[in-house]
């Protein structure tokens, strides 16, 4: 991470130096450096205190035997909690659930988002309204969205999905429409579908921004040379969009990995849908096993660092391009 950002620093310094000229001549030395740092310090100190200290504390607690129900038995246990975390079949399952849920939701919403972005990149009547309508699912409060899917759509007795099935069957004169119990029969799919609905607009917005930033000249030239729509898409649009696709996928993963609201509301972690955030919440909130919850937290952080590093690197390339 430091490696990439220092290369950015080199590249961008050219521009920064131009801006910095008046200040440099005004007064070199420590006082000037502190005058520069002054405006930054409150935010920096605040962030270090509020976000970094808790992580250090989590790390420390993860090496102790600490259950709030047995406060006397507190002590250093080395790696026991980690052995517990990796030895616990439930927790291993929740790692897998997290990976499946995140990968599935990100991939599906990325593909749908790409389709919608391509549609919205064309001119047609009411395009602004269509865009606003497509953003709406993303602007619903996540808990409200989860409640909506659980009770108003998935409910086997009066949910919209089964209601629509009854309707269709009635239309064709049938008395016995299929009435599946959506959440019980495909719990992870049900959570995934509601998340795809919420995250597709996010992917669409980023990809649309990408589409609108490409030059139309190359496309026109290709058209003149007789390229068909598919060829334009495959050889011009897709390569241009690659970076935006990556950015959307990585940011989407960072957000979806942390999903708690949908799992909590739709299934309460039951039916094999407990992902890591939910499992940590449960071991801390219900079992009061602080040591173990912390160890699980450290494992999540370690797992996310891989994705986060990739995301950070990508953002730094975009930053570099912006300032060059």
């Amino acid at each position: 991470m430091t490696g990439t950002s220092s290369t950015v620093t080199e590249k961008v310094r050219g521009r920064a130096a131009v801006r910095a000229v008046p200040a440099r001549t005004a007064g070199p030395g420590r006082a000037a450096a502190w005058a520069r740092r002054g405006p930054l310090m409150p935010a920096l100190v605040f962030m270090v205190v509020v976000t970094q200290l808790p992580f250090v504390a989590t790390l420390v607690i993860s090496f102790t035997d600490w259950n709030a129900l047995y406060p006397d038995r507190r002590g250093f246990t080395g790696l026991t909690n980690y052995a517990d975390v990796f030895g616990d079949a439930g927790l291993r399952a929740s790692v897998l659930t997290t990976v499946w849920l995140t990968a599935g939701v990100v991939l599906v919403s990325l593909v749908l988002g790409l389709g919608l972005a391509l549609l919205l990149d064309r001119r047609f009547r009411g395009r602004g309204l269509v865009r606003t309508m497509l953003i709406a699912p993303f602007l619903l409060v996540p808990v409200a969205s989860a409640l909506l899917w659980k009770h108003a759509l998935y409910n086997p007795e009066y949910g919209l999905f089964n209601g629509a099935l009854s309707w269709l069957w009635q239309l064709f004169g049938s008395e016995r429409p299929p009435q599946p119990d959506w959440i019980t029969s495909m719990p992870l799919g049900a959570i995934g579908a509601s998340l795809v609905w919420q995250w597709t607009p996010f992917m669409m917005l980023i990809l649309l921004a990408g589409l609108q930033s490409r030059s139309t000249e190359a496309v026109e030239a290709a058209r003149v040379d007789g390229a068909n729509a598919w060829q334009v898409f495959r050889f011009l649009t897709l390569p241009h969009l690659r970076r935006y696709l990556e950015l959307a996928a990585l940011l989407g993963s960072v957000y979806v990995v942390q999903n708690f609201d949908a799992v909590f509301t739709l299934t309460s972690g039951g039916l094999g849908t407990a992902n890591l955030p939910y499992t940590i919440y449960e071991s801390f909130y219900k079992a009061h096993d602080y040591g173990r919850a912390s160890a699980a937290g450290v494992v999540v952080v370690a797992g996310t660092i891989v994705v986060a590093t990739l995301a950070l690197r990508l953002v730094s390339t975009l930053l570099k391009e912006e300032s060059s």
Binding site: T9, R19, F124
Partner: protein, 283 residues
């Protein structure tokens, strides 16, 4: 735009066909929300029929129920808590982020991009890993069930986003204006008051709307750290589902009311939404 006008009737027909597809997709996406609004306006018995009763009479009973007509449990404390936590934390975020963004773009400190990436990295790590220590500290300081704790936490959650967004907005301020101010001998407060804040006002507005949305939506921390007095709207919403009796219209009404501020803020910020969500990486 990339939609190169294709001459001829065939091109025009295919263009309007794709327009229709886009409309169909938009209607499909907005259908659950339309359904939620319609259900919230139905009586509980009409809301729970199968097949659905589309043309049933409309009533505001769901909303009356939500505002505590029968039970006397008013949602106002929860809504006020959410509003306090979101508004105050957004103001704090702006107060910290604008000077920080200034020190990272207009008159950059040494290693400014490392600092920028430090801010971003805090946003990339799962917040749930910090839940327990925050809980323990809050417990020891007697801050549990206190809306000001939520203000602090939401400030830390949104500060990185705001620093990145504000940095990209401040970078757009023409250097000439700032140099002119420096020649006039304007101090830092004057530069902020007279140039930075007025020129980047649209950016500040978009940043605050996005911070507001994220704070308003947050539930995990609110669930664990608020209990009775400081319950926020999303937590209140989950407590609204009961195991007995019909509640669908009521829940839909509650979801509409709780989502309304975010929908309004989001539509107001929609042009700058991408920039915020991609942390300023995409314009």
């Amino acid at each position: 735009m990339s939609a190169v006008p294709v001459p001829g009737a065939r091109g025009r027909r295919s263009a309007s066909l794709w327009g229709l597809v886009a409309w169909a997709a938009a209607l499909l996406f907005v259908l659950p929300i339309a359904w939620m609004v319609l259900t919230s306006l139905h009586s509980e018995t009409d809301a729970a029929t199968n097949p659905p009763s589309l043309g049933a009479g409309l009533t505001l009973d769901g909303y009356r129920e939500f505002f505590g007509a029968a039970t006397g449990a008013s949602p106002w404390p929860a809504l006020v808590n959410s509003l306090t936590a979101s508004l105050v934390s957004t103001l704090l975020v702006l107060a910290l982020a604008i000077p920080a963004a200034y020190a990272l773009s207009i008159r950059p400190v040494r290693k400014w991009s490392d600092v920028l990436f430090f801010f971003l990295s805090t946003k990339m790590l799962p917040a749930v890993a910090g839940l327990l220590p925050v809980y323990l500290v809050a417990q020891n300081l007697g801050l549990l069930d206190n809306v000001w704790l939520m203000v602090l936490l939401y400030t830390s959650m949104n500060l990185p986003i705001a620093v990145w967004m504000m940095r990209s907005f401040l970078a757009e301020i023409p250097v000439a204006i700032l140099e002119a101010a420096a020649i006039d001998g304007a101090g830092l407060p004057a530069v902020f008051r007279r140039i930075v804040i007025p020129v980047s006002a649209p950016g500040i507005a978009a940043t605050s709307l996005i911070c507001f949305i994220f704070s308003w939506n947050e539930m995990l921390f609110a669930r664990v750290l608020t209990g009775v007095r400081s319950v926020t709207a999303p937590v209140f919403l989950t407590s609204f589902v009961t195991s007995q009796g019909l509640f669908l219209a009521k829940v839909c009404a509650a979801a509409v009311v709780v989502s309304l501020p975010v929908l309004v803020a989001g539509f107001a910020a929609q042009d700058r939404l991408v920039q915020g969500l991609s942390l300023g990486a995409v314009k």
